[in-house]
Point group: C2
Chain length 376, copies 2
């Protein structure tokens, strides 16, 4: 720990940038637009994701190799680290910040950890898939009522996990929800859980206010479709924007963003865009929706005007744009360009670049403001 | 500064409770549900309000006596303090956290300050009212685009202040918006500004996406009405809940909460409640709306089910309930009971009290999660 790192400071304007190839994170300050330091030794960070402690001091980094690392942003060091599975793809933090949940591929299941100590509180094995092995778990998200929701890829189920007593969680199972759910999200208001289906078209929708009504299928034309378009990269559902009463969804295989009315979950518009969308993210005030793309269009970012539902601007912030993260109130957006080894900070009103930070193959960017939001 | 106060820690779970009679704030921790310490010497804190620095370390406390105090939550001391007016009623912080705006009664106007130093950047005198004196300024709120919006009580105007260059702000004036606007709010998505009118019924509405369309009048029956009901306390508009596409408004003088569809700003329902509502606040996930009341019903708090639009529970957390503040993701709510000298923490799912903190005539409660939100 350096002297500078021990400086007393607030944590509301901090964040991390994943340097995926180096197994390292940069700790960043969004007020000064600087890198404060780095923390190494986090293992395989391809497809890494991050959630935050309630106080914003600690980042919980989920690595692909099953590593769960608690990083102290103030002291810039690893506070705790456990290898909790053989192959993992992310996790969530409970509404009250007390429980960390990890979703695992190998062996498939969900594990609950104490957020302070990383002590294992519960190990929930997944239902088996057609091959008899525990199903891969995907789409894990937090929901109000200290619940988690997740999807079982092989078993075709959605699970609602009540973690009020995290040592003996209660699991409510929804079966036959569709073939191969591959990702899921909880809407920012905490009411809806949606799972994308890899094995068929449509989406699975669960009303968390009314789990007794069961899982419904919506948007029957959403998916790869009968034409079996080449899909370069399945879009991230977690990036889906839900804003102003509408959900903005990346089409699969098509150069389109779909607009869906969340009052009845029907499609109301399609916005033509520059490539196959990967992340579709609303600016916090919902005035703009930002989109990045799969190869070969991954050097561009487009800004959709949420009112006119048309592309208002096309930016070229760098090669291989992997992620975008808005500052807490949305005046700027941080964009990672993996192949140009940089993070670009753009003013969302003028669309001008206001800062550029050197970064080693950056991928995900995660700010501490996520700690106060549902479904991240 | 005590040794404990210098402890390195995150600021995402901190907040302040106003001890109005003592001119003091308590610094609180919502994870441990404790008072970490107090900071004194803040002057007249009746009707005080608070905004936060971008990093969550500093609370800017606006006192009734025109004092603007920057309180360091980590060191538990006053970092800066200026007396910026003779009589003041609150303020706001810009989208990027760099500018603090204060709205003043005497002399009427808006002042902009550097958030770090509290240096005066601009002094915007208000337009005169019928008596020729600068109008009192009310309803000041931040909006996207580094703007502030405010209402002029005596002049009957709404001002949109572009503070991108805070040393020479640009003011756009909307005249004849209605008689005596007494408070205002910006919706959480940053799109709409609403001003309540004291001098007539109805509300003034400005679409900040389209200021060129001008101010419209909505809800013509909202107000004191022709019967001239006795109004024990004008409700706080800033507490208004906008959630799930609906706005929940305290009726004036009536024992009702109004539900308004924000897509067309028409009233869709009225919910009977136990008294004249003062604060009407949605839980962050919008599943519940909590209401407190004016004298003589100020010992009760009611919980409205947002779906059925009916009162689901009535609580009696103490005498003279003045304010309620939800934890960032809404699992608990902190309620101030002035006359019982305590703050009660309630689990919003079970509605059970989970902690009680001693406090000297507590009024407003403000958590640092406000720093990341628009319109606070």
């Amino acid at each position: 720990m350096s002297a500078a790192a021990a400086e007393l400071r607030g944590t509301g304007d901090l964040g991390v940038v994943i340097e995926r190839a180096a197994g390292r994170v940069q700790v960043v300050d969004t007020t000064a637009r600087t890198v404060l330091g780095t923390v190494e030794g986090l293992g395989d960070l391809s497809h890494a994701s991050v959630v935050y402690s309630r106080d914003g001091r600690y980042a919980y980094v989920f690595g692909r190799d099953g590593g769960l690392t608690k990083v102290d942003l103030l002291e810039r060091r690893i506070a705790r680290r456990v290898i909790q599975a053989g192959n993992s793809i992310g996790g969530a933090v409970s509404q009250d910040g007390r429980v960390i949940a990890a979703q695992n591929y190998t062996p498939g299941g969900v594990k609950l950890f104490d957020a302070v100590t990383l002590e294992l509180l519960a190990d929930i094995p997944a239902a088996p898939g057609p091959d008899g092995k525990p199903s891969k778990v995907v789409g894990l998200a937090d929901a109000p009522g200290r619940r988690f929701v997740a999807s079982l890829f092989d078993a075709g189920e959605i699970w609602v996990i009540d973690a009020r007593d995290p040592r003996s969680p209660k699991v409510e199972r929804f079966r036959d929800i569709g073939k191969q759910p591959y990702d899921g999200l909880v809407t920012p208001d905490g009411r809806w859980y949606l799972a994308g289906l890899f094995g068929e078209d449509g989406l699975a929708l669960l009303d968390l206010w009314h789990p007794e009504r069961g899982v419904k299928r919506i948007l029957p034309n959403y998916g790869k479709g009968e034409e079996k378009l080449p899909v370069y990269k399945m879009p991230h559902l977690r990036g889906w924007a839900v804003a102003g009463g509408y959900a903005w969804l990346p089409a699969i295989g098509r150069h389109e963003v779909l607009v869906v009315d969340t009052r009845d979950w029907r499609e109301v518009a399609r916005v033509p865009v520059a490539g196959q969308p990967v992340f579709v993210i609303a600016r916090p005030d919902a005035r703009q929706v930002w989109v990045n793309f799969a190869f070969p269009d991954n050097g561009r970012v487009q800004v959709i005007d949420a009112e006119t539902r048309a592309v208002a601007a096309t930016l070229e912030p760098g090669r291989a744009v992997l992620h975008m993260e808005f500052t807490p109130r949305g005046e700027e957006v941080w964009i990672s360009s993996r192949d140009d080894n940089r993070v670009v900070v753009v003013d969302t009103q003028t669309l001008k670049t206001v800062a550029t930070l050197a970064s080693d193959s950056p991928s995900g960017i995660f700010f501490t403001s996520r700690a106060a939001r549902t479904g991240f």
